[in-house]
Structures are given as C-alpha cells and as structure tokens.
C-alpha cells in the first residue's frame, strides 16, 4: 500500500500500478517522535515519523519545510521500507506542469520498480510507465477516481444542504480513502462489491488496486443507499452556517465540535473536502477507444503530442492536479481568498472557522492573509483554532466555538 502525504500527489499512479493507495490519515496522538523531529513541528509532519509495516510505502510531497525534513527522517532512520519524494511545484503554469509531469513519471518509475520486484520481475503488471498497458490502466483508474471524486463532491453538497451531518460526510470520505488503501477487507464478501464495475473496467480481476477501487465505490454507494433507506435524506434544522477551512484538516473531530455547538457546516475547504473533490482529470474517451479504453483517449483540449497524437498522461495529471483549487502551500495570488469568499457567499456561510495544526507555518500565513482579505476586508467573521490531532474536541475548543456562535447569532439578530 502507498501512503500519500499530499492531495497534489495523484493516487491514480500507484493504483494504475496495481498498488492500493490512500491519503495518509493518522488517528489520535501519535507516538513520541522527538528522536526524529523537533517538538515545534506540526502534528501531521510529526505523525509520519513512525515505523511502518513491511508493505507500506510512503510518498511524501515537498509540501513545506517540515514535510521535507520528515521525509529526510523517514529515509535516514529507515522507518519505512520505501520513501518517495514528490516535488510538487508551488504554482501552476506550463513550465511547472512540464516539470511536474516529469516528477510524476519518475515517481511512477520508482513505484514500478517496487511493483516489479515484488512480483518477481518488471513487467508483470505493466511493461513500462510509458508503455500502452500502463497507460490503459492509468486511463481506467483515472475514470474511476473521477467518479469517486464526483460522488464525494455530491456527498458534501448533500451535507451542505442539511441532508447529512458534516461528521458523517467526513467519515464517509475517510472510509472511501481507507478502501482505496486496500483496507476495509471485511467488505470483500459484500455482493455489491462484486457487482461494482468501477474498479474492474480496464484493470482485470486479480489486482489489488482494482479491488480497492471497487470497494471504495461500494462504500460510497452503500452510504448513499443507506441514507435513502433510513429516510435520512431529509434536510435537518439548520443553525448558523459556517464554512470550515484550513491546511490538511483530515479528521472529523473539529466538525463534530461545530455541530455539537449548534453550528451548521456550509462547506469544508480542506484536503479531504471541496479542494480535492472538485477535481476532474479530463479523460474523455474518443471514438477510437478500444475495448480497454486507451487508444482513443483525448485527455485534454491542449494536446501535447504532435499532430494530435495522444497526450502525455503524466502531463494531463500534472495539469489537472496543479490546477485544482489552491491549498495554502500554493502561490496563486488572491485565488484562495477569492474562492473562500465565493464559497461563503454561495453557501450562505455567516463566518469561517479556520483550523491549523499547531506549528503549521502555511496555516499561520494563510490565516493571516485570509483574515486580512476576507475577514477584515469583507467583514466575514473568522475564528482561528489550532491544535493537534484529536485535540479539537477539547472543552476549550468547544467554549470558543460556542462563543463564536453566540457572536454570529448576535450579528444576525438571533440571540
């Protein structure tokens, strides 16, 4: 299984190589890591400093100075069997896309080396990362991932409309994430999984990634089905609506506190939220598509190959991922402030709750910029909360959130 540290690293690549892959999410207080990293590092970076299972590989993005050093620590102290560094550019543009496409190709080549070794020789699953079999698999996986992302986006739309709690939506997202990582093995016997075509098309039956994709699709479908069956699809009574933003925000605890305090979550701007699920990699099957779905693929309008030749799939992935809604690590001018303000306006959010893991530099700078532009500039109240994983449920946090709610209600004349 491949654990990925950043939403800008496409899960499509390991999955296309037949390796289950998921965004690394850690639960509860992590093991002490002071032998590897300083105390004043963000809890997410520190959480990576742990010993991994034999079959777990780590793909670390150069998200920040702390993650770079966490990557160094993993490699230097031999905490994980394989550590891949993925150099994600800080901006988009044609030069950055071309560079990132090569980074992704090298990432795939690195993983393919592992994949080949494990299976007793390169080429069992794919010939090479530039060969037709890999590209065919990549296309199939990308389509499945597009469907999953679109489904999850729909979940958060339902949540925003009050048909589902934000905590449930986040747990569902985490369930899908776990399924992509080859976890939730108990679901293997579920007949709905066997019936799921999503993961299988173009991949073959005997591969772990195909099963992971199928399980992820089944988890998503089953939850939606259950929501219909239990009548949980009714819109709930709404409290004051707030948007939630932050850097990684990978756990539901904060959302639980907000809902416990009587606030309604209007949107979640995080790595496991609207920033990632609004992404659709443009894979359009053209008229020449073969049964396995590769040859006629037209991946994006700006074909990079000469004379209408098939575009470089890594370039397509690079462009799509770099163009997704910017996270705090990216330099996109005022795009983040504009997007947050647009989300707040369109969703009716009356305030923003910003959560930062303690010592997350990107969050500190991002909050100050957003506070200046959206908070002070536009008059949208913002609450800054920081903590480690699991600490969002502290009584102190609940008190601050409750006070924020009272302030918002006072502004709205609801108090």
């Amino acid at each position: 299984m491949v654990l990925v540290s950043c939403g800008y690293v496409p899960l499509e690549i390991p999955l296309a190589l037949g390796m289950p892959a998921k965004r690394a999410v850690f639960w509860g207080p992590g093991p002490s890591c002071e032998a590897y990293l300083p105390r004043d590092f963000c809890s997410y970076a520190k959480a990576f400093a742990r010993e991994y299972l034999q079959d777990e590989r780590i793909a670390m993005a150069g998200s920040c100075d702390a993650m770079r050093r966490a990557c160094d620590a993993l490699r230097y102290f031999g905490l994980a069997r394989e550590v891949h560094f993925v150099d994600v550019p800080r901006a988009c543009g044609s030069g950055a896309e071309a560079y990132y496409a090569e980074v992704l190709r090298e990432f795939a080549q690195g993983l393919a080396g592992i994949s080949g070794r494990e299976r007793g020789g390169v080429g069992t699953l794919v010939d090479s990362v530039d060969g037709p079999s890999f590209q065919r698999r990549l296309l199939a996986v990308t389509r499945s991932m597009n469907r999953l992302r679109s489904g999850l986006l729909r979940v958060f739309e339902l949540q925003a409309a009050g048909h589902m709690s934000a905590v449930d939506a986040m747990y569902l997202t985490l369930g899908v994430n776990d399924a992509l990582g080859g976890e939730l093995k108990g679901d293997l016997e579920d007949p709905r999984i066997a019936a799921q075509p999503d993961g299988r098309r173009g991949l073959g039956d005997g591969d772990e990634a195909a099963r992971a994709l199928a399980r992820a699709a089944a988890v998503l479908e089953r939850t939606m089905h259950r929501a219909d069956a239990t009548g949980d699809g009714r819109a709930r009574d709404q409290g004051v609506r707030v948007g939630v933003s932050g850097t990684c925000l990978l756990e539901p605890a904060l959302l639980g506190v907000l809902e416990d305090a009587g606030l309604a979550v209007a949107f979640v701007d995080s790595c496991l939220g609207s920033r990632s699920f609004g992404l659709e990699v443009p894979v359009d099957a053209g008229p020449h598509e073969t049964e396995n779905g590769a040859d006629g693929a037209r991946a994006c309008a700006d074909a990079d190959g000469p004379g209408g030749a098939r575009p470089d799939p890594f370039r397509v992935l690079a462009r799509a991922y770099l163009s997704k809604p910017a996270c705090p690590r990216m330099f996109a001018g005022d795009a983040r402030a504009r997007r947050l303000w647009a989300l707040a306006r369109s969703s009716g959010a009356q305030g923003i709750v910003y959560f930062a893991p303690k010592f997350c530099d990107h969050a500190y700078y991002d909050f100050a910029e957003l506070k200046g532009q959206v908070g002070e500039g536009e008059g949208l109240p913002m609450l800054f909360l920081e903590g480690d994983y699991g600490s969002a449920i502290s009584g102190q946090t609940l008190t601050r959130v409750t006070a924020f709610r009272e302030m918002l209600e006072g502004r709205l004349g609801l108090g």
Binding site: D72, A73, Y76, Y364
Partner: protein, 438 residues
C-alpha cells in the same frame, strides 16, 4: 465585488502596534533612513571611524550597506525585495538594489526596531510561533520601516516563511510578485526550467519597472566572481589555527554574504578582510590566543545584545571557526550563460534537496576547519534547519563530533534565554574539554 487589498484599518493597526520610539520625528530611524543628508553625514563620518580604530574591512562593509540603503530608501534605484537565496546578481544586474527583509531583521534586532516590527506583525494576525526573522521583516514593512519595493522575488526553496512573508509585503506595496520554482533534485532539465524562469522574470522586470534593464547583468556576474575569488581566499585563511577572526563578528557579516553578490562594494570588502586576516596571521595577533576549542556554528545567531559570545569566546576561549551560512557553495558564474549559471547557483544550495547534501557540506567544513564540536542555533520557528537536528546529531555522533542543538531566537529578544544558553554552552565546552583530556 470582492475587495482584495489589505484593509487600511489593518495597516493602521499595525502602525499603531509598531509605536513610536523616538520623541522627535527626525530622530526616528524610518525618517532618518529617508533623508539624503543622513547618508551624507554617515559617509563623511566613515574616515573618522578609521581614525578611531575601526578596521578597513569594517568601514568597507558599512560603505557597502550605506550605498544600498541610500539607493533603496532614497529611491535612487528600483528596490527589489528578495528572499534570502535569490541570486542578488540578478537584481544588481538589472540596475536595481536588493533588499532582504529577513536579513534586515538582524540589523533591526540590534535596535528597538525589531520589537516594533514584531508587534506590528502580530497585529496583522501572524502567529508568534513563526520564525522571527520573517515576522520582523513583514512587520517592518507594515510599520513603514522598510523602503518601498518596486517588485518582490522569492524562491520556492529555502524557506517557507520567506516566500509567504514577502508575498504579503508585495500585497502591502501593491507591486509585482515573482516566485522562482527551484527543483528539488538537480538535473539538466531542472536547470533549464529554472534558468528559463529567471530569464522570464528578468525580462518581465525590465519591461515593467522603469529604470531596470538587462544591460548590467554581465558586469554584476563579473563582480560576483571577483568577490567570490576574494572570499575563497578569506575562507582559506580562516582555516588557520588559532582562528584569525572572531566567529561572533563573522556571523554579523552573513548579512553581506546573503545580500551583496553582484554589488560593487562586496569585492573591496572581502579584499580588505583578506588583508586583515593575512596581517593577523603574520603578526600572530589572534583574537583568542590560547584557543581551546574550535566550533562550527550552524544557522544564524542572536543579533540583539547577548552575553553568549562573550562567554564562549572570552570565558571558554573557544572560537567559532566557521559558520554554515558563510559557506560559498557555488562555483564561479559563467558569463556566457548567465541564467543557467544563476540557476545552478541556486540549485547548489546544500540546504535544499535531501538532507545528505547538508550533511556532506557540514562534514566538509568540519574537516577543513579542524572542528572540535558543532553548535546549531535552533532558531525558533525555523523548520528547515531545526528539522534536521536529530539526523545531524546522529551523523556527527558516528563521526565522533559532539553536537549541541542550542534553542533560541535571533531577533525576538523576548524568546531568548541567555542564562539557559550559557549553561548549555558551558556544559558543551566541558564535554569538549573532557574529550581532549582535561
């Protein structure tokens, strides 16, 4: 329609937080720095400094800084703000003057300006858990203590705080912001991409900022190479045992090392310094005559008044023989291919890429400068440097070199614990002494 400027109310808050230190407006540093006569007076006073015992290299350094500050504050040349590892040859070559807020924060720490700047930054909602060099730079800009930039250039490599704080400064000033994406692993393709970015930024600046052109680029690179040649001689002289220069003073000149490559003033400074070191060695007039231990100093130092170095160099008779941030890690620049050459300079930074590059550089410095122990000044909030502490400790232990990770803050005196630092340094020196056999 969304308003995306920094609200004027927020700017006023920052300025209020910065306060006013001097009673008379004319005595305020931000006012003095913008008066032509102040620079004339300072320049006229330089020969007096020499008469009062200042060394020639110290005067050359002041002359170099004064010239740049006059250009920047008086608007004689377009001022380009940069983060620490932007090649300043580019700025001088364009006809501009660089200004590095994080380096200027070190200067500010020596006066009350740092405290004012930090207050102004915190009023803008920035966390005190961020590196104080960047907070002071940003707060200084918000409080009106810095010159007005015509543009801002940052790099994507070291470090996160530099680029984000300068992004905010560019918004405060309403000027163009450029970021050079530096690839993590050097390769021909990576160099070409970075070189094309530098060329694009240079061309764009020459078009957008009046007074800038590419005509002076070759001269700036030539000056940089001349200064590098002098500097390599200085570095070679510093290998002498005992050390011919106090490390505490050398750490002050990291400012010029970061700021002035391509400047006409850098080569004269290093030449004067070289002559001083040659004379010191020839005369045996070493600052610490009975040198007991030689240390390599990693990262920066506290720039406010502190007794740490007096204790180290005086009471403990231990030299900081060399500093990580004084290591010239790049080769001579190629005038025939300036952009690729500048790209190679940026990518050869040993703090970028896998940590093995930094380990190699430190091992080399330990060897070349006959180092007995390594001290890393663990600047609060500096993730890129502090994050490698455990690895450095392990690696140096295997080589038999003691390592001390000394917590502190280079700019924010509120977070500097002098007594604790002295206690820890004392214990470290005892350890070194015990290893030497007493």
């Amino acid at each position: 329609m969304m308003h995306l400027g920094i609200p004027s109310r927020l700017r006023r808050t920052a300025r209020r937080a910065a306060g006013r230190a001097a009673r008379w407006a004319v005595a305020r540093p931000e006012v003095l720095l913008r008066r032509r006569w102040a620079y004339q007076v300072a320049s006229a006073a330089l020969p007096l400094l020499e008469l009062r015992g200042a060394k020639a290299y110290q005067v050359a350094a002041i002359r170099c800084v004064l010239s740049d500050f006059a250009d920047a504050y008086l608007g004689r040349r377009p001022c380009i703000f940069t983060s620490a590892f932007v090649p300043t040859e580019l700025v001088y070559g364009l006809g501009g003057v660089p200004f590095l807020p994080e380096a200027a924060a070190g200067l500010a720490a020596a006066s009350d300006l740092a405290a004012r700047s930090l207050s102004a930054c915190e009023a803008l909602w920035y966390s005190p858990d961020l590196c104080s060099f960047h907070r002071a730079g940003l707060g200084g800009a918000a409080a009106g203590l810095l010159p007005r930039p015509s543009a801002v250039i940052v790099t994507s490599h070291l470090c996160d705080g530099g680029k984000r704080s300068l992004f905010h400064i560019s918004r405060l000033a309403g000027c163009p912001f450029y970021m050079l994406g530096v690839p993590y692993v050097p390769s021909d393709r990576a160099t070409r991409w970075l070189a094309s970015q530098i060329e694009q930024v240079a061309g764009d600046l020459a078009r957008r900022v009046p007074g800038l052109s590419l005509e002076g680029l070759a001269q700036a690179l030539r000056r940089s190479n001349e200064a590098l040649a002098e500097y390599e001689r200085v570095s070679a002289l510093r290998r002498n045992v005992p050390a011919p220069w106090r490390g505490s003073e050398a750490l002050n000149y990291v400012l010029l090392f970061l700021w002035s490559w391509g400047s006409p003033g850098l080569s004269p400074f290093y030449r004067a310094l070289r002559l001083h070191l040659e004379r010191t060695i020839a005369a045996g007039d070493f600052p610490i005559r009975e040198e007991r231990h030689r240390l390599l100093w990693l990262n920066l130092r506290p720039y406010y008044d502190t007794g740490v170095f007096k204790y180290l160099e005086g009471d403990c008779a231990s030299s900081v023989a060399f500093e990580e941030y004084s290591f010239a890690y790049w080769p001579s620049l190629d005038l025939r291919d300036p952009f690729a050459s500048l790209a190679e300079k940026m990518m050869s930074n040993f703090g970028w890429g896998p940590i093995e590059r930094r380990l190699e550089a430190i091992a080399r410095l330990v060897d070349e400068y006959s180092i007995d122990g390594v001290v890393q000044f663990a600047q609060w909030g500096c993730r890129q440097s502090n994050g490698g502490a455990a690895i450095l400790a392990t690696e140096l232990k295997e080589k038999g070199i003691p390592f001390l990770n000394l917590d502190g803050d280079g700019v924010d005196a509120r977070c500097g614990s002098e007594a604790q630092a002295i206690t820890r340094l004392g214990a470290f020196i005892e350890l070194l002494g015990a290893r030497r056999g007493g």
